[in-house]
Symmetry: C2
C-alpha cells in the first residue's frame, strides 16, 4: 500500500499513520470498498508494530473512514463525495494608502508595549488561580474598582463599581444595549459613523437620524425613541461640543419620557485648550449609559471597553453579556487595572494628549488661516471645510492619501446644500510619517 507516512516527534507513529490513512481515503488513493492490508503485513511494510497499525485501523473505524466486519477484514467505507470547498479566495485587500489620515484609530505606534507587558506580568504574578476560571459577566472587580476612581476623577462620571460592565469594546456595548432595548427605536447623530448604525440595525434596532448643528444634536428630533446615542465631548465627525442648552434638553427629555441617553465618550480624554468637558452622565446617572474604551488611549486591539449603567439596566445588560460571550478576557482586564492603579495610565494619556495637541497645532499651521477647520478643541480628528469633497478626494487619492469626508457619514444620500468637509484623523499616522502626510494634505487642499 502506498502511504505517505511521515511522523514527527509530536504526533507519534500511530497518529502519523492515522493521518496518512485519512488523507489516502479523502484523496481517493484508497477507494471505497477497497480492502486494507492485514495489520501484520502493513506493520512489516512500514516498520511499525502490529499494535500501532491495529490501533490506527480501530481509530479510523471509530471515525467512519473504514469499516471492519467479521470475515471481510478492514475496508474503506463508502465515503460520500468530497466536499467542493473551492480554492482559498485570493485575499482581495484594498491596497494600503501611502498616507493614512482616516479618522478612528490612534497612533498605534505609541502603544506602551513595555508598560503593558509590565502590567501583564504583575497581573499574572498576583492573580489567584480562580482568575483563570469563568468569571463575572460584568468583568473583574479589580478593573471595575480602578475605573470607578478614574472615571470620576478624569471624566466626572458617577461610577460605583457595581454599575460598571466591562465589554470587549464600544461596538459590543452598543450591540448589547440594542439587544436589551429589543427592537426599540434608536436615534443617532446625523452625520455619524455608519458602522455604528449598522451595529444597531444588525442587533435588531431601528435607527432614526438626529441632525447635528453648531450646538450639537438638535433637541426636537429625539422625541419618540427608546434611546438617543450622542458624542457630547466631541461630536463625531463634526467635532462640535454639545452645548449646555442641549445637554439640559437631553437630560430633561430622558427624565420626562423615561428615555435613555447613550454617551459615546470615545475621545473624551483628549481635550487641548482647557480641561475635558465632564461627561453628560454626571448630570443624569439614572438616564445615561456612559461608554468608554481603551481603544484611543491604548489601542483598539485590546478590545477593552466599559459601560456605566443606570441601575434598572444593569441586570439585563449583564445577562446579555453572559449570553454573548460569558465575559471579557480576564488577564487584559487585570493588566488595565494595574496600569490605572499605578497611574501609568494617566501618565500615558497625558503624554498622548501633548503629542496629539502638537499634531493638531501642526495641522492648523500647515492649513493656514484661510481654511476653516472645526472641532479642533479635542479628539484625534478635525473637520476641514471644503467646497467640493469629490474633487478633493480625487486629488488625495492620486497622491496616495486616504482621508475621511463628511459625505460618508450622512444617514441618507443626497441632501442639497449640505456642508462638505474632510474628516482628518491626525492621530492615525506613525509619528515619523505625520509631517509628510500633513504636507501631502496641504498640497491637495492648496490645489483645489
Amino acid at each position: 500500500m502506498d502511504l505517505h507516512l511521515e511522523t514527527d516527534a509530536v504526533e507519534g507513529r500511530r497518529a502519523g499513520l492515522e493521518r496518512a490513512l485519512r488523507d489516502a481515503v479523502r484523496g481517493g488513493r484508497l477507494a471505497p470498498g477497497e480492502r486494507l492490508p492485514a495489520t501484520r503485513q502493513l506493520a512489516a511494510e512500514l516498520g511499525v508494530s502490529r499494535n500501532t497499525v491495529k490501533a490506527a485501523y480501530d481509530q479510523l473505524v471509530a471515525e467512519g473512514y473504514l469499516t471492519a466486519r467479521q470475515g471481510s477484514g478492514t475496508r474503506v467505507a463508502a465515503l460520500p463525495p468530497a466536499d467542493d470547498s473551492g480554492p482559498p479566495e485570493a485575499a482581495a485587500r484594498a491596497r494600503a494608502p501611502r498616507f493614512d489620515l482616516r479618522p478612528g484609530s490612534p497612533d498605534v505606534g505609541a502603544f506602551p508595549a513595555a508598560a503593558w507587558l509590565r502590567a501583564l506580568r504583575r497581573a499574572i504574578a498576583t492573580a489567584p488561580s480562580l482568575a483563570y476560571d469563568y468569571g463575572d459577566p460584568r468583568g473583574r472587580i479589580e478593573l471595575r474598582t480602578a475605573l470607578s476612581g478614574y472615571l470620576g476623577r478624569a471624566r466626572g462620571v458617577i461610577a460605583p463599581p457595581e454599575r460598571i460592565v466591562i465589554t470587549s469594546g464600544y461596538v459590543q456595548g452598543l450591540a448589547l444595549l440594542t439587544r436589551v432595548l429589543d427592537g426599540g427605536v434608536v436615534a443617532m447623530e446625523d452625520p455619524g459613523l455608519p458602522f455604528h448604525r449598522d451595529v444597531v440595525r444588525r442587533n435588531g434596532g431601528v435607527v432614526v437620524p438626529v441632525r447635528v448643528d453648531a450646538k450639537g444634536a438638535r433637541a426636537q428630533e429625539w422625541r419618540d425613541c427608546a434611546a438617543v446615542v450622542v458624542t457630547p465631548a466631541h461630536q463625531y465627525p463634526t467635532g462640535v461640543t454639545l452645548h449646555p442648552e442641549r445637554r439640559r434638553a437631553l437630560t430633561d427629555w430622558a427624565r420626562a419620557r423615561g428615555g435613555l441617553l447613550v454617551e459615546d465618550d470615545y475621545d473624551g480624554e483628549f481635550r487641548y485648550d482647557r480641561q475635558p468637558v465632564g461627561a453628560l452622565q454626571g448630570m443624569a446617572p439614572g438616564q445615561v449609559v456612559y461608554m468608554g474604551t481603551a481603544s484611543k488611549t491604548l489601542g483598539p486591539a485590546l478590545r477593552l471597553g466599559w459601560m456605566v449603567l443606570p441601575p434598572q439596566l444593569l441586570d439585563a445588560v449583564a445577562d446579555a453579556k453572559l449570553h454573548s460571550d460569558h465575559h471579557t478576557e480576564s488577564i487584559g482586564q487585570l493588566a488595565l487595572a494595574e496600569l490605572i492603579d499605578s497611574h501609568a495610565y494617566d501618565r500615558h494619556v497625558r503624554a498622548c494628549r501633548l503629542r496629539y495637541r502638537r499634531r493638531r497645532d501642526q495641522l492648523l499651521h500647515r492649513l493656514g488661516a484661510r481654511r476653516r477647520v472645526r472641532g479642533i478643541a479635542a479628539g484625534l480628528h478635525a473637520l476641514v471645510e471644503v467646497d467640493d469633497e469629490a474633487r478633493v478626494l480625487a486629488r488625495a487619492e492620486a497622491e496616495g492619501l486616504a482621508v475621511g469626508h463628511l459625505g460618508e457619514h450622512w444617514h441618507a444620500p443626497g441632501g442639497e446644500g449640505r456642508p462638505q468637509g474632510l474628516v482628518v484623523g491626525y492621530g492615525t499616522p506613525r509619528q515619523r510619517v505625520y509631517p509628510e502626510a500633513l504636507e501631502v494634505l496641504g498640497k491637495v487642499l492648496d490645489g483645489t
Copy 2:
C-alpha cells in the same frame, strides 16, 4: 463658600476644584439659583489663581451645572432632582462549596502562567505596530495558521486558515452561528448543557431536543431543523462517544437536507485509553462547523475559541462577529499562536492529559467496581449512576460537596424512569484538594 477641596498630583488644582463644585451642586450644598462667589474672592479663599477658578467655572457652565449670565454672575443651575439610584446591592453570592466536583472547568491551578507570560512577551516583542489597531474580524492570521496545523494534527480537522474564525470562546461561536441561522430550529442533545440552550434561544434560535442513547445522539430526531449541535468525542453530560453509524447518519442527513452540523469539541484533547477520536468535521468539512476552545486546555478566562467553517458560512459569520465586537482581543491570539508554534501547547496538553487520567483512575478506584461509571474514556467528567439523585445530592450538600447531576440537564422536567446520575467534574478541584474531594464523594455514595 464651604468647599471640600482636595487635590492630588494627578488631577491638579483646577480639576480638584471642578470636582468639589460638582459634588457640592449634586449634593445640594450649593442650591439651585445660588450665586457663586466672584472668581477673585474664591481664588483668595482657596489660595489658587483667579484663572484657575475662572476656568473651573467655565467648565461647569459647559457641563450644565452652573449658568453664567451677563450682569447676574455665575449661579447654580436649576438641576433636576437627584436620581434615586438606591444603595449598592449586597452581593448575594452563593457561598462557595468546600469541595467542588461540578463539571465545566479544568483545574485552573494548572494554568501555565509562566509559559503564557513568556508567550505574551514574545508576542509583544515581535508584533508590528499595526497589531495594536483594529484587525480582521476573523482573527489574527498568525493564530489561524498555527491552529490550522494543530487541528489537523491533533483532531483530524480540515482547517485551512482562511476557513477559521477566532471567537471569544464557545458561547460566542454558538451565539454568532445562531444569529446567522436567523431564527432557525436548532436541535440540541437531551441531556445537554442548559446554558447552551439559553444561548441559542437568547440569540433568536428555536431549540428542539435530540435524545441521546448509548450510541450518542439519535438519528431520527434531527429531521427538520437548520442545525444539529453535537458533542461527538465525549457527549456532555453522558460521556458517550458518538457511534460510527451515527456519525455516518448525521453527515448523510446534512448532505441530503443541506443541514448544518455543529461539532462542539469541548474536551476532544483529553482521551485516555487510545488516541482521540478524530473530529466529525474531517468527514464532512462542507457540512460541519467545528468549534474548539482553549478553555479546557489552558483556562476559560482567556476567552479564546475557534470555529472552522464551511465556505458558504464564512462571510456571514465573520460579518456577525464584526457587528458583535469587531474581533477578539489580539495580544492573547498572538500569544496562543506562539504557544502552539513552540510546541509548548502540545506539551502542556500532554501533561494535563496524564494528570486528568490519573484523577480518573483515582475516581474509579475510590468508587470501586460496584458503581457503574460511564464516559470514562475521555474528558474531565464522568457519569456515576445512582438510584436517587435527590437523596445523594442532599447528602453531598450536607458534606459541603458540590457536584453535577443528570437531572439538571434534561430539556424538559419530568420524564418517569429516566436514568439518574451524578455528573462528576474531576478536573475542577486544585490538585492538592482532589484526594479529599474524592474521599467525600466516596463517603456520600457509600452512604446512599
